[in-house]
Symmetry: C2
Subunit: 289 residues, 2 copies
């Protein structure tokens, strides 16, 4: 099962991923001129599919890329071809292939659409969620349009690499002294039983799990504030946790080698994860294991 071939859909055609042939003039390859989504699949079912597709639509629009149709069916087809129960689907759209010129003014290209899926032999974040993870804080060096889920990901790659080299699994990024997000996650800080998270802006990605959790917390009358969070607020937090499609909600128990709160997975991080897992069961059925 673990070594089965990954099946992709490349511009509408089903084929092994390893047979997909990208042109070196694909604007995704030379400019990072494209957008993407990562969908988490549970029991063969993509969780929060609507939220992902609506964000993709917004990313496309913000980059003056044309809207796409039929993606729901394509994603389900990729899930089927890869026989994914527990796993993920990666979906990427680039502006298309053309001689290299920066400007895309008046450039009407056929976008290149790649979708592939992967079966996970085990839940990739369950263990980390149980134990909590270590993180470091770093200045946010990324560009001013992190609200677009684009392929310009070098800043994220450099930050998570630095974190890994320091024995941590995530980097919390700060712009002008205020928390933005992780390298592939949103961040929540708990203080006096209130959930704080940075407000949506051009500096953070509107995370599907972030938005889902904010909604669910408000429905049960938990205190949630979307407001700027200073480095000092973070350093004095009772709890910190991150949310993402892959990590659901996972506690940060150590920041910059200093214990966060009790140094263990706290009750609010556990509540956040429970709410997300409950949502998954509602949409995708009871999870095994």
């Amino acid at each position: 099962m673990e070594n089965r071939k990954i099946i992709a859909m490349w511009n509408g055609h089903i084929m092994p991923l390893e047979q997909v042939s990208v042109s070196p003039l694909d604007r995704g390859y030379v400019f990072g001129d494209g957008v993407y989504e990562v969908l988490r699949i549970y029991n063969g079912c993509p969780f929060l599919l609507d939220a992902h597709m609506s964000r993709l639509e917004q990313s496309l629009e913000k980059m003056s890329l044309p809207p796409l149709s039929g993606l729901y069916a394509d994603i389900l087809s990729v899930i089927g071809h890869n026989e994914i129960e527990e796993g993920m689907v990666y979906l990427q759209v680039t502006r298309g292939t053309a001689p290299r010129v920066h400007s895309y003014s008046n450039l009407a290209l056929k976008p290149n659409v790649l979708i592939y899926g992967k079966h996970f032999p085990e839940h990739p974040s369950a263990q980390d969620a149980k134990s909590g993870i270590k993180a470091i804080s770093l200045p946010d060096l990324r560009w001013g349009r992190c609200d677009i889920k684009s392929l310009n990901l070098l800043g994220n790659c450099m930050a998570i690499t630095l974190a890994n080299e320091r024995g941590a699994l995530e980097a919390l990024q700060f712009r002008d002294g205020f928390l933005t997000e992780g390298t592939s996650s949103n961040v929540f800080v708990v203080k006096n039983e209130a959930f704080l998270t940075p407000p949506l802006s051009n500096h953070i990605l509107p995370g599907t799990r972030r938005n889902y959790l904010v909604e669910k917390l408000r429905l049960r009358n938990s205190m949630v504030r979307e407001a700027p969070i200073s480095q000092q607020d973070v350093n004095s937090a009772d709890e910190i946790f991150i949310t993402s499609s892959i990590r659901e909600a996972t506690a940060v128990i150590s920041l910059d080698a200093k214990q966060v709160g009790s140094g263990r997975v706290g009750p609010m991080a556990k509540l956040a994860r429970d709410l997300i897992m409950k949502g998954i069961e509602e949409q995708c059925g009871v999870l095994i294991g």
Copy 2:
């Protein structure tokens, strides 16, 4: 001549560019995890080759990519295969191909190296240099490591697209109110016969033509200051010009639809271009046409 096939060198192999097949798991395609150079060729000779190769080396090092050897010979081979007299060579190095994980900690991949060249049927910037070009000013939305010539170029693409849509050929970018650079050029401002250009930092690319020109101007005792330049300084400039491998030195005669200085190509922009063209003749021989 204009429609001849572009010949590429792909990981050391010579082949038509259209036959190069990039993996969808190339980190250049999913993260923009790579660097590049554009070399301008005159009389079959790459101008400032040493400066380009030394900058490439720095870009590689800043991204923890391994150094490459033999590139000089590869570039000359690509020039030969494409029979380039007047033209360009594009050289790109990505971290390599691997299952998609942001972190490159402990990831020792074989880089993917693409080199191709293009013959120019005519000098691509001579006419613009004669007439001068229009530009607009825009906030610099790019990331904090623009000193690396990386493939994360969306910010540049969006800015030049906006410029084109407003009838301009370049966008001068400002970060926190201070000039950084164009979307594919460095910027010089002339005030009271002094040449001003932003100092090298993590916010601008160390342009080969910029650096060459600063050196040549200083050698002839022109006044050159590498210092922060405010939007106000730019708006009250006697002259503005941009430098790049493709545009050499080209005057900006209109900024945000307002005339710059006399509204014509000024004497200092002309001097700058003459110095660069003289350097080209010294390295590559007398230019025809």
